[in-house]
């Protein structure tokens, strides 16, 4: 088991060394479709599909051979008349939801998608709670009482050169 993983790591390294270090535009001229509308759709779709052998790159950005094959496949499917969703479904059927950079809205991702909303609601509740549990805000603070004034004069009655420059 261990050995296998070592091999797999070595193999993954090989693939990455071919992709991560050579930063050039991934899409090759011979892949580009002549129909600009279809090509634009192809770019949109491929920027939403994850390159499986890379780290956090879409197939649109990756130079990996598999990413190239998938880009070509996306364009082929578009040429045969698939909608964007059909193309994605085609690839998901083979590689699973992992290829979607935008996770689908399924039970497993409810927390992911509702999370920000839940946080927002609970924060709103907390803020309302915060304001509700504070006493009524007087328009202006009550003026100092005589006692307070007397005590204060003690505090303020100190040399002004306390305010040195630090």
């Amino acid at each position: 088991m261990k050995l296998q993983l070592v091999f797999f790591a070595a193999f993954a390294m090989l693939l990455f060394s071919a992709t991560a270090i050579r930063p050039a535009a991934a899409v090759e001229p011979d892949e580009v479709l002549t129909n600009p509308a279809l090509e634009a759709r192809a770019r949109t779709i491929s920027s939403q599909l994850r390159c499986l052998v890379c780290q956090n790159e879409s197939i649109d950005e990756s130079n990996a051979p598999l990413a190239h094959d998938l880009r070509v496949l996306v364009r082929k499917r578009l040429l045969t008349g698939d909608s964007n969703e059909q193309v994605k479904a085609y690839i998901v059927a083979r590689y699973g939801n992992y290829v979607l950079l935008k996770p689908p809205f399924i039970v497993e991702t409810y927390i992911l998608w509702f999370g920000p909303l839940i946080l927002l609601l609970s924060a709103t509740a907390a803020v309302i709670f915060f304001f509700r549990h504070r006493a009524y805000l007087p328009s202006e603070p009550a003026p100092l009482t005589d006692d307070e004034r007397r005590n204060l004069s003690d505090l303020l009655d100190e040399p002004d050169d306390n305010m040195g420059v630090g």
Binding site: M1, A9, E61
Partner: protein, 859 residues
């Protein structure tokens, strides 16, 4: 000598840090002045020792001392001097040294500037700083010692990754760390306040400038990282929501929130528990980022070489610092008395609102970054959370925040006048509406144009709203010009800082919107002499120089002349470089900017027929993103220069503290009594700790998996229990049959994808015999290979397959869900896939999994 002194100084620093962590703390709690006073000399000595140590490491790098392992691994004599120096923090060990150096630098700053801090507070702050320093120095010494020696030294070093030999990447870590580590100041102040059980005026005054310093540095660091991505990665992307980028954005968002809540804490003596919480969270997120990047829990393009052992140590530090501080928070925060009251609509209310949104944004990024790991840990399969998710959730959070950012400064403290504020924003509102209309008129009605108009509208709203606030404050249109200018001079610097920083954000927003909405891209094969048009620019490819020599690389350099309307605009020379030590390829792009848009040229591979792949982009408004970030930092620095931050120390008095009659004081408390609810509300303060415990437990689980060899890269197949996809492939060897789907039926079959170019396939090959011997039908599909190579390969190693088909274009591979050979699929008698092995088969897998399963399926 120098190197060993460096190590000894670091070891000495460890013990000094221990003393500094313990003695002043005890002194502060027992009121022993002489014990507390150990804090400043200790901080100075700690700084001096770590500086000496860091200097020694730098010396070793500059003099190419190959008796130091760290130098061997990251340097080479041919490397330019600049990169010998910046290479010090190019490695994990060196970057941790930089981290520690900056940490002690901040400690030193407290010692130097801290004369106006109450001694007890200062002693506790420096003690907490020393605890952090102790943890990190121990981490360096035990797991990442940069002074490990080698004898005999090799003749030369292994060189530095060419990607790191770049000014943008070389200088962005120091700023990033100045930011990350700078938040340790706010953290230390927060812990000191919690130990003390009170947050006083001096506390809030002090936290703000240090948070501001850290915020400025982090803003610059993040912007530099983004700029680096922009000109390095070759497609003009500046933000990819990569885990490492997220790790820097989370503390930035939390730190921005902290910056604003600290204002409320100082001015109004309220939101104190929240400010302390943010201080803890901001630094914890910095630590979490360090952990995620270096432990191998997440993978990223930018991550360091990962090491689970280091991961365990960083997790330990994270748990210690964050866990202990959140525990202290749960214990002490409920007792912190709230001070000044304010209405929901007020300056404080606006700041609170922004705080809430910024915190939720940070939490959302954390959720998105870690969610795939959670789903995986719960056995729910693998999912990806990429840029589309973050964009979707980030925009609705940030849009209202920017709306409020323009209104907030118009509201007065305590109780604001919303109608009045909006009335004064009428003109700004008009400008925003015009911006939106013009954008739609230019770009037409499409979803992209609508988003663009929204972005520009918000940017205009914020930019002109900030201007309007300033002009209202100085009375630009209400008073004589001279009077207004007089008033403008007397507006506090911190207010100017706010206006400038907010305008900077507006510029960034406009830049992001523009680059998303109107990017133009041209990709083609060009021969020298060819010309093309890119968004109004005529670009002529004049030639290639294949013989460019750099200090440690050779390159092919293309020359393009860009013209607009026949006039010369720029000469652009992108390169493809081959570095020698270590041997690696790197492509450098050429960018011509006119500060509104960037013309961006990439020089690709030759096509073998005299042409070259060339790729051009016109990236509109991208320069604004970086310019806006610099404006934000400038705003921060202006605010920092405000003299309010330089409050003096009280002079020593001859008489003991004022003899104020305390009898009346309790009634004077402005805060209403809310302590009776403390118990009831106490559980809220426990929530962060509980959440953190869950998170830490999860990370421990993750690290355990990593140490057992689990990699996050293995993707389970969705093809299990589905019929094998339809295919009909030609044979590889002429005298043997091909392969089609129907052939798989009737008998349990192992379909093995292999290729002669695949290194692990060679390792797998002998194992295939075991499969054949076990009576499982074995067929091979030769994946994306040249038939001649594959035939030679089988001739050399032997042919264990009953049939070998050729999948030249990889289409069948994709249908099976192959993402990297070798992969093998066990198909049952009915042609349904029952098992998949990703990566090479091993004797263990064959014996323990494959054969028993095949026997079961055969029955």
């Amino acid at each position: 000598m120098v190197v060993e002194t460096g190590l000894f100084a670091l070891i000495l620093a460890l013990f000094i840090a221990a003393i500094q962590a313990v003695v002043p703390l005890i002194g502060a709690s027992r009121g022993e002045a002489s014990w507390m006073n150990v804090d400043r000399p200790a901080a100075a000595v700690l700084f001096a020792l770590v500086t000496l140590s860091f200097g020694a490491l730098m010396w070793a790098h500059v003099t190419s001392d190959f008796s130091v392992l760290n130098v061997i691994q990251n340097s080479h004599t041919d490397k330019p001097l600049l990169y010998k120096i910046t290479g010090v923090w190019g490695s994990h060990e060196g970057s941790m040294m930089l981290w520690t150096f900056i940490l002690t630098l901040y400690g030193m700053a407290v010692a130097v500037f801290g004369s106006n801090l109450p001694p007890g507070l200062r002693a506790r702050v420096l003690s907490v700083q020393a605890m952090i320093a102790f943890g990190f120095i121990l981490f360096i010494l035990l797991t990442s010692n940069p002074f490990t020696r080698v004898y005999p030294p090799p003749l030369n070093g292994e060189g530095l990754n060419p990607l790191l030999q770049d000014p943008g990447l070389a200088f962005h870590p120091p700023f990033l760390y100045l930011g990350y580590v700078g938040f340790s100041m706010a953290f230390s102040f927060a812990i000191a306040a919690l130990i003390d059980g009170r947050v006083d005026a001096a506390w809030a005054r002090w936290v703000r400038p240090w948070t501001l310093v850290a915020w400025c540095a982090l803003t610059l660091g993040v912007a530099m990282g983004s700029w680096w991505s922009y000109y390095t990665l070759g497609w003009g992307g500046y933000w990819a929501w990569d885990p490492v980028e997220n790790a820097s954005l989370m503390p930035w968002l939390a730190g921005t929130a902290l910056l604003h809540s600290a204002i409320v804490a100082e001015k109004r003596d309220t939101l104190k528990a929240w400010t302390i919480f943010l201080a803890i969270i901001t630094f914890s997120l910095s630590l979490l980022g360090t952990f995620l990047v270096r432990s191998g829990v997440l993978t990223s393009v930018h991550s360091f070489a990962v090491d689970p052992q280091r991961g365990v140590f960083i997790l330990l530090l994270l748990t210690l610092f964050t866990g202990a501080s959140l525990f202290l928070f749960a214990l002490r925060a409920p007792a912190l008395k709230a001070g000044g009251l304010f209405a929901p609509i007020s300056r404080e209310g606006g700041l609170l609102f922004n705080n809430v949104l910024l915190s939720i944004a940070a939490a959302t990024i954390l959720l998105g970054t870690l969610y795939p790991l959670f789903v995986d840990a719960l056995g729910l399969g693998k999912i990806s959370v990429g840029p589309p998710y973050f964009n979707t959730v980030f925009v609705p959070l940030m849009a209202p925040m920017i709306l409020i950012m323009a209104i907030g400064p118009f509201l007065s403290w305590r109780r604001g006048d919303l109608e009045g504020a909006l009335a004064r924003l009428k003109l700004t509102f008009g400008v925003a509406v015009v911006t939106i209309t013009v954008t739609v008129l230019i770009a037409g009605i499409s979803s992209r144009a609508l988003w663009a108009s929204l972005g520009f509208g918000l940017a205009a709203w914020l930019f002109f709203g900030s201007l309007a606030e300033w002009s209202g404050r100085v009375g630009l249109f209400r008073r004589s010009f001279g009077d207004a200018m007089h008033r403008a001079r007397h507006v506090p610097r911190s207010v100017y800082g706010m206006t400038i920083a907010h305008m900077g954000l507006a510029i960034v927003l406009a830049g992001i919107t523009g680059s998303l909405a109107w990017k133009t891209e041209k990709l083609q094969v060009m021969r020298p002499g060819d010309s093309i048009m890119v968004a109004g620019y005529q670009i002529e490819f004049t030639g290639v120089d294949n013989d460019v020599k750099g200090p440690n690389y050779t390159a092919s350099r293309a020359t393009f002349i860009a013209r607009k309307d026949g006039r010369f605009v720029a000469k652009m020379q992108p390169e493809r470089r081959v570095y020698t030590n270590p041997p690696q390829d790197k492509s450098t792009v050429a960018i011509h900017t006119n500060f509104i848009d960037d013309l961006y040229a990439v020089f690709g591979e030759p096509d073998g027929k005299g042409g070259f792949v060339t790729h051009f982009f016109l990236n509109p408004l991208v320069p604004w993103i970086f310019f806006g970030a610099v404006v934000m930092v400038f705003g921060g620095m202006v605010s920092l220069s405000d003299r309010r931050h330089r409050i003096g120390a009280p002079i020593k008095k001859t008489r003991i503290a004022s003899s104020v009659a305390a009898a009346t004081a309790p009634t004077a408390g402005a805060a209403p009594s809310i302590e009776k609810k403390a118990l009831l509300r106490g559980w809220i303060y426990l929530l962060p700790l509980l959440a953190f415990i869950v998170l830490a437990g999860f990370f421990i689980h993750r690290l355990q998996l990593a140490s057992e060899g689990d990699t996050p890269n293995l993707i389970p197949s969705v093809m299990i229990n589905k019929p094998a996809p339809a295919f009909n492939l030609p044979p590889l060897l002429a005298d043997r049959p091909g392969l089609k789907t129907a052939d798989l039926k009737g008998k349990v079959t192992l379909v093995d994808f292999f290729a002669s170019w695949c290194v692990p396939c060679r390792a797998e090959h002998p194992v295939l015999r075991l499969v054949a011997q076990a009576g499982i039908r074995l067929v091979g599909i030769n994946y994306k290979d040249k038939p001649t190579d594959a035939k030679a390969w089988l001739a050399e190693l032997g042919d264990p397959y009953q049939a070998v088909a050729s999948d030249m274009h990889g289409q069948t591979g994709i249908n099976f869900g192959v993402y990297g050979v070798p992969e093998s699929y066990l198909v049952d008698k009915n042609g349904v896939i029952r098992f998949k092995q990703t990566g090479p088969l091993t004797p263990e897998v064959v014996r323990d999994k494959l054969i028993p399963l095949a026997e079961k399926l055969e029955r």
